[in-house]
Symmetry: C2
Subunit: 329 residues, 2 copies
């Protein structure tokens, strides 16, 4: 077994045992999401492709796996004091639902211009939503302040061992279902899903190459991967809103360096084409970030043939009107 980097696993923050434990914790709470195949995709790419459809996960994305795992591990005392997170997207809803299921009060810090539909969905799960002005404050500092005032536990969207382990159960599930894989394509924002999945693949399918996929305009992780020095982007203008994170985290960076085999990027145009291909041919609703891994394959960013390829479709929370405007635009 060769590792792509020289780090020793002993110093790394998450191990496969954490993913196994998360998997047991999530049993009966998460959906065992379907794995779809398409003869059209197989013919077009010359591979056997398995789409793991986390857009069918509870709250519409893989984020629920990490959020539930993190909240389920809290002590009775921590549960009583509640949790807090910052996110305008899928992690917000995931934490809100996990809190509701586990009877833990949740507070979500969101920018004041977050789509009303996302604010409502988050409140719908019983979370308290606190809005802030992007121009006046950063979400991290505000969240820290409120958490301190309330003595609440912060559950960050990716740079947290329990979040990473929970998200890694996605790869565990797909590999256990399809038995063997030569390649696994995973999108990368903050790197929580990517590192969790890479740990699982390393344990369950050691020959499997794990490739992270980023938007061209938010290629910080790709540059970090190649330079082995943490790189960042500032408010990148990509339609893949889930991958606009400035940089990999303190935990995810070493994990990505250690377990991931390569990183590639795709353009927003390729992403849009892929999203609509998945809508029209696979009949699944996928959000832009959710189509990143599929785009890498369908747009020829990974040179491979006659291989068994897993593609993680991460989410389906998309504003239909807005997206169809992109189609027409």
């Amino acid at each position: 077994m060769t590792h792509p980097s020289e780090f020793s696993t002993a110093t790394l923050p998450v191990a496969y045992g954490d993913i196994e434990a998360a998997s047991a914790r999530l049993l009966g709470q998460t959906n065992q999401t379907p794995i779809l195949t398409s003869r059209t995709v197989n013919d077009r790419t010359g591979n056997q492709v398995f789409f793991k459809c986390e857009n069918f996960q509870r709250t519409g994305s893989f984020k629920f796996r990490g959020a539930f795992n993190a909240l389920a591990k809290l002590s009775p005392n921590q549960r009583q004091r509640g949790v807090l997170t910052y996110s305008s997207g899928n992690h917000a809803q995931a934490v809100a639902l996990a809190g509701k299921l586990l009877d833990i009060p949740t507070t979500i810090v969101m920018p004041h211009d977050a789509p009303i539909v996302k604010q409502d969905a988050t409140r719908g799960y019983g979370a308290e939503v606190i809005l802030y002005d992007r121009a006046e404050t950063t979400r991290e500092s505000l969240a820290k302040q409120i958490a301190q005032d309330r003595d609440a536990t912060v559950i960050p969207p990716y740079d947290h061992a329990d979040v990473i382990a929970g998200q890694g159960t996605t790869a565990k599930e797909v590999i256990e279902s399809v038995e063997s894989l030569d390649m696994l394509l995973v999108c990368c924002g903050g790197g929580g899903l990517l590192s969790g999945c890479a740990i699982a693949a390393n344990a369950l399918a050691p020959g499997c190459r794990v490739i992270g996929v980023e938007p061209e305009k938010a290629d910080d992780a790709t540059r970090s991967f190649y330079s082995k020095t943490l790189q960042s982007v500032h408010n990148p203008e990509t339609i893949a809103d889930g991958a606009r994170t400035p940089c990999l985290g303190r935990l995810t960076f070493p994990l990505v360096l250690h377990y991931v085999h390569d990183m590639v990027t795709v353009s927003d145009e390729a992403l849009l084409r892929t999203m609509f291909f998945l809508w029209e041919r696979l009949k699944i609703v996928v959000e832009p970030t959710g189509a990143l891994a599929a785009a890498a394959l369908l747009e020829g960013m990974v040179a491979v043939s006659n291989a068994r390829i897993g593609v993680i479709v991460t989410g389906g929370n998309v504003d239909l009107r807005q997206t169809l405007e992109c189609l027409n635009g």
Copy 2:
């Protein structure tokens, strides 16, 4: 076992044995389509709901089941002479693909104003497409003429025993997967799917009530069902294009009377709401006709609670741009 009507099964054109035989013929050719569940839907309706997703079937709809079964039963001589059908929709693509797989030449008669994308998809499977002017000729007479000239076998879209039996495998598959059902909701155009599914449900889940669902503006089968006399509609203006058929067929009418327990209708507005609900919440792309059965449940057209309900989602071939216009309109 009670039957909803006084017809004797001995005189009926399709029996459950035909569906079993079709099922064997389709093995490895059709997709075993996923059955999706939704906690939101269960909570909202107070039932346990199983969505059988034929939008994931080959060619994007259940029509492939009937087409393949009918073509697979042809004699070597008939195969050589080829088949012909008339359809601007899902049956066209289904026959074209079945012909390609079985090496049978296919000719499809389509109106000259059929969407280019559907013409292209049909040609893409290797079918010859013959266009006609709706104002000048009817598709049935033209098809008959061409079939005669070419000595080809006509495969009508629903009023054909092998088509009905093939389509009925949809219900067989869902009932065998979920084990028991109290109700099965099936859309109704020409009644092929509805009668096939009702035969299967009668054999496999005798206590299960089978309900046909039509658009309000194309309610001919509902009126035929209640009056026990064949009723028709003329070019109804419903967005459910797959249910614009003028009336039940010579074979499907007695089958519907015999095996179906009730018929209900839904408005186009309800259909649109349901289609977008399925897109946004279940993350599946469904065409208007494909959402009929779900609409009956979600819009409260069937009064039932604490029941196990199967809902057949029949197809996902939808023009995204056109649908956006409906959404905005």
